[in-house]
């Protein structure tokens, strides 16, 4: 199931968010962040359930701080939704599955 979640790096970030046919949800996370670990299973479930309607990707801010800095991420988890390469929504802080799906509803129609 993990195959549904794209691992982003400095090398593939721009290409991934630009070329996707669906909105891309990028989860900015790190190993040392407790709330990030809690939402990981939530994000993976959503990736499986919404496959085809939403691309789910993760970016490790420790390894790719340049991307985090470019998007002014100052708190994790931060989740940013990109459409055609442009940021359309930003969610700061962890939340449960129902709440996250409600937040994303606008992009899943």
């Amino acid at each position: 199931m993990a195959a549904n979640v794209v691992t982003l790096t400095t090398a593939n970030f721009d290409e991934t968010i630009r070329s996707s046919n669906t909105p891309v949800l990028v989860d900015f996370w790190a190993e040392w962040c407790g709330p990030c670990k809690q939402i990981d299973p939530v994000i993976r479930e959503i990736a499986t359930e919404k496959a085809g309607a939403l691309t789910v990707a993760k970016l490790n801010v420790d390894d790719h701080g340049d991307i985090a800095m470019r998007f002014n991420v100052m708190s994790i988890p931060t989740m940013i939704v990109f459409k055609n390469g442009a940021e359309v929504q930003r969610l700061v802080g962890a939340r449960g599955k129902a709440a996250l799906l409600a937040d994303l509803a606008g992009h899943l129609a």
Binding site: A30, W32, C33, G34, P35, C36, K37, Q38, I39, V42, V61, D62, A68, N72, V73, M74, S75, I76, P77, T78, V92, G93, A94, R95, G96, K97, A98, A99
Partner: protein, 321 residues
């Protein structure tokens, strides 16, 4: 809308109190359901307040220390090993007026003979107008989550207890300077934590000071600090403000049902975990504003499970007479 099979025990909350209660109840073959809460970036989340800490140095049995989230994961695994079930959702409504006791998660109804309440406490915020809008943009309640983004910057921590000093010490790994802002002229933190703050060259303390304004549109640029003695105001340029000013018990769910003190903490009968409602027990920070430690929470969780087990036995014995 769904109604789930009746159970002997439901535990609401999953910090050290709830998970210890779960270990004991599960080992007593009571197959508890733990409604553990849902992910959040505040201390109100599965695993509780320790999920937002780093090193825990005072939990007995860990001479090298243990990471807060790891300790909680191990407690959860231990409860699961003996058959505790987990629901990663938040309880939204309760009805303790009849038998059985009922707990809802949105439209789903769960019932149990006994309920253990271990919903803990959450961080207080400053209550300033644009505070919520600036969370994630310079204002933070989680040093371990956000400290990394303040590398090489000057930041401040508000508060004077152990958690404020722990956060300040942790943040010196990243920031060039950390100012502790405290409204009194001495800390309420423990001696060892105070010494840690005073001995850290990167930490300075502003006594008798209160943060009265947050300035910044898209992100925090400065704060206004008011001297609580003279009333003098000063604007201080900082990019990060970490709030650690104390806690408030998570008891909104139980208003009008469970007895509380004037600050909202649940009241238990002395020497026990019993609340005013038979079959409802409380443990951990939700009923403790005195000690508020992981180990005392765990101890009271054990009490709650034993109290619940004995109460269930008594009910059973009375019913079969």
């Amino acid at each position: 809308m769904a109604t789930h099979p009746h159970r002997k025990v439901i535990i609401i909350g999953s910090g050290p109190a709830g998970l210890t209660a779960a270990v004991y109840a599960a080992r007593a073959s009571l197959a508890p359901l733990v409604i553990e809460g849902e992910p959040s970036s505040t201390s109100d989340q599965p695993g509780g307040q320790l999920m937002l800490t780093t090193e825990v140095e005072n939990f007995p049995g860990f001479p090298e220390g243990v990471q807060g989230p790891e300790l909680m994961q191990r407690m959860r695994d231990q409860a699961a090993r003996f058959g505790a079930e987990f629901l990663t959702e938040k309880a939204t409504k309760i009805d303790f007026s009849g038998r059985p006791h009922r707990v809802w998660v949105r439209d789903d109804e769960y019932s149990a003979d006994a309920v253990i309440v271990s919903t803990g406490a959450r961080s207080l915020m400053l209550g300033l107008p644009n505070e919520t809008a600036l969370i994630g943009h310079g204002v933070s309640t989680c040093a371990t989550c956000d400290g990394f983004f303040f590398r090489g910057q000057e930041i401040a921590v508000v508060g004077g207890g152990d958690s404020a000093i722990e956060e300040a010490s942790f943040l010196t790994k990243f920031a060039t300077k950390v100012t502790l802002i405290h409204r009194r002229d001495k800390f309420r933190a423990s001696k060892i934590m105070q010494e840690r703050a005073f001995n850290n060259p990167k930490i300075s303390v502003r006594w008798n000071s209160q943060v009265t304004k947050l300035n910044g549109d898209k992100k925090l640029e400065s704060i206004e600090v008011t001297d609580t003695v003279t009333g003098a105001k000063e604007t201080v340029a900082i990019s990060g403000l970490f709030v650690a000013i104390g806690h408030r018990p998570n008891t909104d769910l139980f208003g009008g049902v469970l007895d509380m003190d004037e600050t909202g903490y649940l009241v238990t009968q002395p020497g026990s975990s019993r609340t005013n409602v038979p079959g409802v027990f409380a443990c951990g920070d939700v009923q403790d504003h005195t000690y508020r430690q992981a180990i005392t929470a765990a101890g009271s969780g054990c009490m709650a499970a034993i109290d619940a087990e004995r109460w269930l036995e008594h009910q059973h014995a009375t019913a079969s007479k």
